[in-house]
């Protein structure tokens, strides 16, 4: 039979039966844990809660201070006598001044475009390579994989100089391509995805293969849909890394209209000098996108860090 539509085959392996676990919520509710890890004693709980609350306040304080400063006038922000509460009340002037300069939204857009491009290319290319190393045989497969794993050790920082030379030769400095391309090489993601594919059961592909599906079809229509949680984890991780990457975008761009957020915002400091209210307003605006995203997708981001953060160890 060559038809891929053969109902008998596909339905004999129902989707549910495949253990798509790695993630999923912890099997037991938090309440059970409470009694297991911490005594049920009231004093211990109150003590732990107090320590936790103090820690959280200390950790949130810098951000609160940034918001507070941003809501002051520049004059009040640098008034040592009224350092906490502004003498002339709160104002949104710093925000509007910074926003109207127009470069901040542009840097955000640049960061978004660059991080999105890096993410799409990295995830697709790494997943394909992971599939190749996990499911196919080709000449040199073994040592190419060893090479890839070894490359995890290479710090990108030592490649800055040759990358710069390379982009200089190719006349690519100050282009999106120069910022994006070197960031798409992620041996560790290939390694993670290869291990992930190794862990998937082969029954479904066998079925698809008997139905005449080729490698691309198996990869695209069988394995990728099964790997959605893992792909999301990798994608989130790559995106955050690219969004916050500093050194290479800093070295490869000098045109302010091409700068990413982390790079552009540092030029604000030099431009504003001691205007702390405006400097904090731009910091708050620059911080906002990812923090808001985190509030909505907390569970996914936490999962992403927990699974990809260890580099598959």
């Amino acid at each position: 039979m060559t038809s891929t539509e053969t109902p008998v085959r596909t339905s004999s392996a129902p989707r549910r039966a495949v253990p798509v676990r790695p993630f999923g919520r912890p099997p037991r509710p938090a309440r059970t844990r409470t009694n297991l890890t911490l005594g049920a004693g009231r004093t211990t709980r109150v003590l732990a809660l107090t320590v936790l609350a103090i820690g959280a306040v200390v950790w949130l304080l810098p951000m609160a201070w940034a918001v507070l400063t941003a809501l002051k006038s520049d004059q009040d922000a640098s008034d040592p006598l009224h350092w906490l509460w502004p003498e002339h009340g709160f104002t949104l002037k710093a925000f509007s001044t910074v926003w109207e300069r127009g470069d901040l939204p542009l840097w955000m857009l640049n960061s978004f475009l660059i991080a999105a491009a890096v993410t799409v290319v990295t995830v697709l290319v790494s997943a394909m390579a992971g599939y190749a190393f996990s499911r196919t045989l080709f000449a040199g497969r073994r040592w190419l994989f060893v090479l890839t794993v070894a490359a995890v050790l290479v710090p990108p920082q030592i490649l800055i100089v040759p990358w710069f030379q390379q982009m200089l030769t190719l006349h690519l400095l100050d282009t999106y391509a120069a910022v994006i391309l070197p960031q798409t090489v992620a041996p560790v993601m290939v390694f993670i995805l290869k291990k992930h594919f190794d862990s998937l059961p082969r029954e479904l592909e066998e079925a698809a293969r008997i139905d005449g599906a080729g490698h691309w079809r198996i990869f695209w229509s069988v394995l990728l849909p099964l790997s959605r949680p893992m792909l999301a984890a990798v994608a989130i991780f790559v995106f955050i890394g690219a969004w916050n990457n500093f050194l290479w975008p800093f070295v490869s761009t000098s045109d302010p209209s091409l700068m990413t957020l982390p790079v552009g915002i540092t030029s604000v400091k030099d431009a504003y000098g001691v205007q702390y209210a405006q400097s904090m307003a731009s910091a708050v605006l620059a911080a906002l996108p990812l923090v808001v995203v985190f509030m909505f997708f907390q569970r996914h981001i936490v999962k992403s860090v927990a699974t990809t953060g260890l580099g598959g160890q």
Partner: protein
């Protein structure tokens, strides 16, 4: 003559094997990998043997001169020292504080969402924001921390301009900024400690502290080693926050080796020499990894 199962159809077996589907799948990655990793690694090594500069003059081969210069360069040793010092100063609290946070949050106290947000959110800030924010927090006359120290009647510091304090201040910023990452790794590890261990301990009448010392911490020892290894490797690469907060100052007293590479290459225009220092730094990273790898192996035996 090809083996029967390698190519089901006759004809051009060598070519078929060369363009086997597996290789085609790996090809996009391999091309990027070759162009932006293998080639630059080779080119960096080659450049380290030349006097290439960011100028028009053609580079010439000078053998190991850059390396002999580097080994006699006091500034390079100083920068390497700063990198190692920062690694020690940052790794210890980044592991210990993360563990403490995770243990406390894992107890299942109310407000999980808030704790995670508070401890992890700074990790999501671009380093440019972290730099701006902490320069302002550390500002000697107007910054929050000196105001607070003053209110408590304690000594104030010239955080970023005092040579004896600046590196500690940077380590503190780094702790605040990145501890959330290790915290999440610990939290995930805690969730995978099997319940039956605690149940058995509860039956034996073990108290909360006893359970912490005899079950939780031993169960976390493997992940602690992994987190420490990853943290050391991450700390060795420090550049961004130092560059943004102190530019390596005061008096180059916080300049890490990666910044020295940047300064030599892009401010001093000596790409060849910068490449040589890059490779010396690479050697340090490889050595650190190897040391940790063997320590780990011995431990597991």
């Amino acid at each position: 003559m090809s083996s029967p199962h390698a190519s089901p159809r006759p004809g051009l077996p060598a070519l078929r094997r060369l363009f086997s589907p597996g290789l085609l799948f790996a090809l996009p990655f391999l091309v990027l990998f070759a162009v932006f990793m293998v080639w630059p690694l080779g080119q960096g090594l080659w450049m380290s043997l030349t006097d290439r500069a960011l100028s028009a003059h053609a580079p010439s081969f000078i053998g190991l001169d850059n390396f002999t210069e580097a080994f006699r360069d006091a500034e390079m040793w100083r920068a390497l020292g700063h990198t190692v010092w920062f690694t020690v100063l940052s790794t210890v609290p980044l592991v210990v504080v993360a563990l403490g946070m995770a243990l406390l949050v894992h107890t299942g106290l109310p407000g999980q969402w808030v704790w995670r947000l508070a401890f992890f959110a700074p990790y999501l800030l671009p380093v440019g924001v972290v730099g701006l924010l902490w320069i302002w927090l550390y500002q000697p006359d107007l910054g929050l921390y000196n105001h607070l120290l003053d209110a408590l009647g304690l000594t104030q510091y010239a955080w970023l301009s005092d040579e004896s304090v600046a590196m500690w201040a940077i380590a503190l910023t780094t702790l605040w900024w990145t501890v959330g990452f290790n915290f999440l790794l610990y939290l995930a590890a805690l969730q995978s400690v099997p319940d039956h261990l605690y149940e058995a301990a509860a039956i034996d009448g073990a108290g909360a502290w006893r359970r912490l010392w005899s079950i939780t911490l031993p169960q976390l020892s493997r992940i602690t080693v992994v987190i420490t290894v990853l943290q050391v490797l991450a700390s060795l690469k420090v550049f961004d926050q130092v560059y943004l907060m102190t530019k390596g100052g005061p008096n180059n007293s916080t300049r890490p080796v990666v910044e020295y590479v940047y300064d030599v290459g892009f401010t001093g225009y000596r790409l060849g020499y910068a490449s040589a220092i890059s490779y010396i730094f690479f050697a340090l990273v490889v050595l650190a990894s190897a040391a940790q790898f063997f320590a780990l192996r011995r431990r597991e035996k």
